[in-house]
């Protein structure tokens, strides 16, 4: 099948939009049809993204499946899509997690199903768009679009304190992304000014990547991009929206939030911040690495004392995302590969953990760890699933989490053994909070709280198993055969590092 002739990226990206529009015309009363349509469209998008996987040539260095059309020609803004290994991986991750999340929402979401599914599908459009856009302006648009459905998903279907959480999420993210908008515009203008006022290519990623910007612009534009992505990913000290958002979000919202939205930050760093402003990236790298190490340790330590399951997982995300930024900014091959792997793995593992937390929450409407205990006997399959993903999160070799983490360690060791040593300690803390959580939930005698809710404590239902199994399989497969991912992203890694290797830090000695 020749898929090169089809605008396949557009199809993948906007298939969910079509679904959302269809759902808008389905009467509110037929919730089943709404659910089926939502799942169907997300599966269509997923299936198409798998075709992409088949047709992709890892050896080919450039972007593939490129589609371009002039959009706003006055500013050289294009509708330009394309994937390389990195975006391909993220696209497939997104499509996979989306249908899983939609499936996982069938049970818990009973109110306003129609609006929920529409929001979710639009969310998917935004996320996919971010990963395939090759025009900075287009990228920004998708980056922002994501906010709106997520805002609604947390705000409408979330927990008790949802409004605070969702507004915090949106405002915090907006501050960063709007500054990035200034950065994007400044970048484009710098390009335009250097090309005699010609806007052509000023927003085109591939063109901009070839252009070297002057150092002042780099320093400021990088900072703007950095802030946007650092908030999104989120890095210490910009992370506090995350625990709130996770705690209040509905299960599927948490899954997508952890699984994909946080990756937008990492993706942005790798795709835009570093290649466009390599010198600035080098200049700021030590500070970013310091923040990453702090995030790794700090997130893990704070996770140790969390009373709420979701908060614990949220802080563990802060810690895990610290690896991503660390891996990127050590500018080592293994570090970058590890960072990418870590993004994927964290998406799978933490996504699954949130699904699991959601399973329990749906039955007991509580997530307080202190009230739990002894679930192993009551829900053995659940315990096994939870244990599996808990161990994957702890970085057990053989499961995917380990590879990413270890590659980051190796990369950071090459950068500085001290940094590696400081961040490797987190292995202990991670085991600490995860095992503590596991012990409190599953070991010991059944807690009074659970005894009271024992009627609801049935083991995993078939739908729930169906949502978890793909993730589990992927965790094992990527743990044993990380090469599947590594070969895909090798091109991106080489490209990014090649650009970064030629740059050197800017001399910040302004006083001279």
């Amino acid at each position: 099948m020749d898929i090169t002739g089809l605008p396949i990226l557009t199809l993948i990206t906007f298939a969910p939009l079509v679904g959302a529009i269809l759902i808008a015309f389905i009467p509110r009363s037929s919730a089943g049809l709404v659910r089926a349509t939502a799942l169907g469209t997300s599966l269509v998008s997923w299936a198409l993204s798998l075709f992409l996987l088949v047709g992709f040539l890892p050896s080919h260095p450039n972007f593939q499946f490129v589609e371009r059309a002039d959009w706003i020609s006055a500013f050289g803004i294009q509708y330009k899509l394309g994937v390389d290994g990195l975006s391909l991986v993220m696209v497939v991750l997104t499509t996979t997690l989306t249908w899983i999340s939609i499936l996982a929402s069938f049970g818990p979401i009973k109110e306003r199903v129609k609006e929920y599914m529409i929001s979710f599908l639009i969310l998917e459009v935004g996320m996919l768009g971010v990963f395939v856009a090759l025009d900075l302006f287009l990228f920004y648009i998708f980056f922002e679009i994501v906010l709106v459905p997520m805002y609604l998903i947390i705000g409408i279907w979330g927990g008790a304190n949802r409004i605070y959480a969702t507004i915090k999420f949106v405002l915090y993210t907006l501050v960063g992304s709007l500054l990035m908008l200034v950065g994007i515009l400044a970048t484009a203008f710098a390009f335009q000014a250097a090309h005699g006022g010609n806007w052509a290519g000023a927003f085109d990623y591939e063109t901009l990547r070839q252009f070297s910007f002057d150092s002042t612009l780099q320093l400021f534009a990088f900072l703007a991009f950095f802030l946007a992505f650092a908030i999104k990913i989120p890095m210490f000290p910009f992370h506090t929206w995350l625990p709130d958002a996770h705690v209040e979000a509905p299960t599927a919202g948490s899954v997508i939030l952890a699984g994909v939205l946080l990756k937008l930050g990492g993706y942005g760093f790798i795709r835009f911040a570093v290649p466009l402003f390599p010198e600035a990236a080098h200049t700021y790298a030590p500070a970013i690495i310091l923040l990453s190490v702090i995030a790794i340790i700090y997130g893990a330590i704070v996770a140790l004392v969390q009373p709420d399951l979701k908060k614990l997982v949220a802080y563990s995300s802060v810690s895990h995302m610290g690896f991503v930024t660390l891996g990127i900014f050590v500018f080592q091959e293994q570090g970058l590969q590890g960072a990418i792997l870590q993004m994927v793995n964290h998406g799978l593992i933490t996504g699954a953990l949130f699904l699991l937390v959601g399973v329990l929450y749906e039955r007991t409407h509580d997530r307080t760890i202190a009230k739990m205990g002894g679930l192993s006997a009551q829900m053995p399959v659940y315990a096994v699933a939870f244990g599996f993903f808990m161990l994957a999160s702890a970085g057990l070799p053989g499961l995917s989490g380990f590879i990413g983490e270890f590659l980051v360690f190796v990369g950071s060791f090459a950068y500085s053994p001290a940094v590696a040593a400081a961040s490797t300690i987190v292995m202990v803390f991670a085991a600490g909070y995860l095992l503590w959580m596991f012990q409190r939930m599953f070991f010991g005698e059944l807690s009074d709280f659970f005894k009271n809710a024992i009627g609801h404590l049935d083991d995993l239902r078939p739908t729930e198993v169906l949502t978890l199994v793909p993730l589990g399989v992927l965790v094992v497969v990527f743990g044993l055969f990380p090469g599947l991912l590594l070969t895909l992203v090798q091109g991106t890694v080489t490209e990014v590092l090649h650009g970064a290797a030629q740059a050197s830090a800017i001399n910040l000695a302004f006083w001279q």
Partner: protein, 487 residues
């Protein structure tokens, strides 16, 4: 008055005739709303057609007092659109409050005439008269619900302060006129260039005149600290009229700024640039900060309109700092702002169709459930006002920010202030969304029926809001040409 003059000012004449026709119809068939509405809309369509016809050529009329160029056409069309939307949104609201439609429409069209004169004025006197013709009907409209204490209160505040500022503005105009010896904008600009040639700085009298004029226009566009009338007048006015007031006189006042500050005072732009920068920063920040604390949607939107003035001023400052894109940004922003803001007010007006319904946030509680389509449309307008892509508001903001970034220097700081403000603004816009979707309705009352005209208007406004964001190309071309018409 020659035939050529007449054909050049034909849009204005057509507008006056439409106003007259509305009054005439009301005299012939008193109280027939349908007829009056039809007349108004038909008349506006004719005006639009005439504007387009006249816009085919660039011409001066009345010995250079009136100029027909691309900017005129652009602004005229915008004014016609504003008035048309207002007329579409108003009848439901007015009818349920037993307010006459014909007087309303006629006065509105008179105001439009004034605005159109501003868009075309190349003479200080015409400028002043156009301004007065635009704002005096505005005072009347603000107090149009004359039995309503709030409406009249808003009106008298608007009137008193407006007249005060008009006097100040006029005083400044007179000083400028006295120094330059002419009322023609081109002559003024030429004289100023001569006076400033050789690096001379402006005289004290000119500085004084400039200060008075800036104060006057800053008042009309509701820039901080001359904005005080805005929230009170907006909140007091009948809601469809608030919608009009928030865009019509504001865009009109920006037309005045374009003709006066860019047309006549262009030689002084390095002098008024810092003032505009400060005004822009103050206006954005103060508007947004106070809007954060509002619980009445109309008043919140009033403060938000102040903030939007600030964003537009960023574009103006960028122009003064040497970027023509700033001017384009001003025009683009004005157009984008028009439709989303009118749309938002239209939703408020639709909700207030039953007399006695306030515009408090509680009115919006559960709207997403009670009236889903209205909820979605309101969300759309609010998101656009927030600046979420790919909607019109986002593109407008991006445009002025781009211009500011291009201008560089202090303007970059202004751009950063602008985006920080935009982020803060998201809070209060989204709070309405919170009420609409995340709160339970306070009353179980059956939602009122909305006229098909209102629906048509809402759909049109939302379509424009989306279209300007997704396909900004045509509008970009238009503002590009319009901006080129200025020196």
């Amino acid at each position: 008055m020659s035939a050529a003059d007449f054909s050049t000012i034909s849009p204005v004449v057509a507008a006056v005739l439409v106003a007259a026709a509305i009054l005439l119809v009301d005299i012939v068939r008193p109280g027939s709303r349908t007829l009056a509405i039809a007349t108004s809309l038909l008349g506006l369509a004719i005006v639009a057609a005439v504007v387009l016809w006249a816009g085919q050529s660039t011409a001066d009329a009345f010995d250079g007092a009136y100029r027909q160029d691309a900017l005129t056409t652009f602004l005229d069309l915008l004014f016609v659109a504003i008035v048309a939307f207002t007329i579409v949104f108003a009848p439901d609201y007015l009818e349920s409050r037993d307010l006459p439609f014909a007087e309303f429409a006629a006065v509105l069209v008179f105001a439009m005439t004034g605005a159109m004169l501003l868009a075309a004025a190349s003479d200080l006197l015409v400028l002043f008269l156009g301004l007065e013709l635009m704002v005096i009907p505005g005072y009347l409209l603000a107090g149009f619900a004359k039995r309503d204490a709030l409406s009249t209160e808003g009106a008298i505040k608007y009137f008193l302060l407006g007249s005060f500022s008009s006097a100040i503005f006029l005083f400044g105009l007179v000083f400028t006129w006295g120094l330059t010896g002419s009322t023609r904008i081109d002559d003024v600009a030429r004289h100023l260039t001569d006076m400033l040639s050789g690096g001379a700085s402006m005289s004290a009298g000119l500085a004084m005149g400039l200060a008075f004029m800036t104060t006057g226009v800053a008042f009309k566009i509701a820039a901080v600290p001359f904005h005080y009338w805005t929230p009170d007048a907006y909140q007091g006015s009948p809601t469809p009229i608030t919608g009009y007031l928030s865009v019509g006189p504001k865009v009109g006042a920006f037309a005045l700024i374009l003709r006066l500050f860019i047309g006549a005072l262009d030689p002084l732009k390095t002098d008024w640039l810092p003032v505009m920068e400060i005004l822009a920063a103050l206006t954005m920040t103060m508007g947004n900060l106070v809007a954060l604390t509002q619980s009445n949607v109309k008043r919140m939107l009033a403060y938000s309109s102040i903030a939007h003035t600030g964003y537009i001023l960023v574009g103006l400052a960028a122009y003064a700092a040497g970027r023509i894109e700033g001017l384009e940004g001003v025009l683009f922003y004005a157009a984008a702002y028009t439709f989303m803001n009118l749309g938002a007010f239209a939703v408020v007006a639709a909700l207030q169709r039953r007399p006695g319904v306030t515009s408090h946030l509680d009115t919006f509680a559960g709207l997403g459930r009670r009236e889903p389509i209205l909820g979605v449309l309101m969300t759309l307008f609010l998101l656009s006002l927030t600046g979420i892509p790919p909607l019109a508001g986002f593109f407008g903001k991006a445009y002025v920010i781009l211009a500011a970034v291009q201008a560089g220097g202090t303007l970059t700081i202004l751009a950063v202030i602008a985006v920080l403000n935009a982020a803060a603004a998201a809070f209060y816009y989204l709070r309405v969304v919170v009420y609409m979707y995340m709160r339970e309705p306070t009353s179980e009352a059956e939602p009122p029926k909305h006229g098909s005209l209102v629906w048509a208007g809402l759909w049109a406004a939302s379509a424009l809001t989306i279209a300007i964001g997704v396909f900004p190309g045509p509008l970009l071309d238009a503002v590009h040409h319009a901006a080129l018409a200025l020196p």
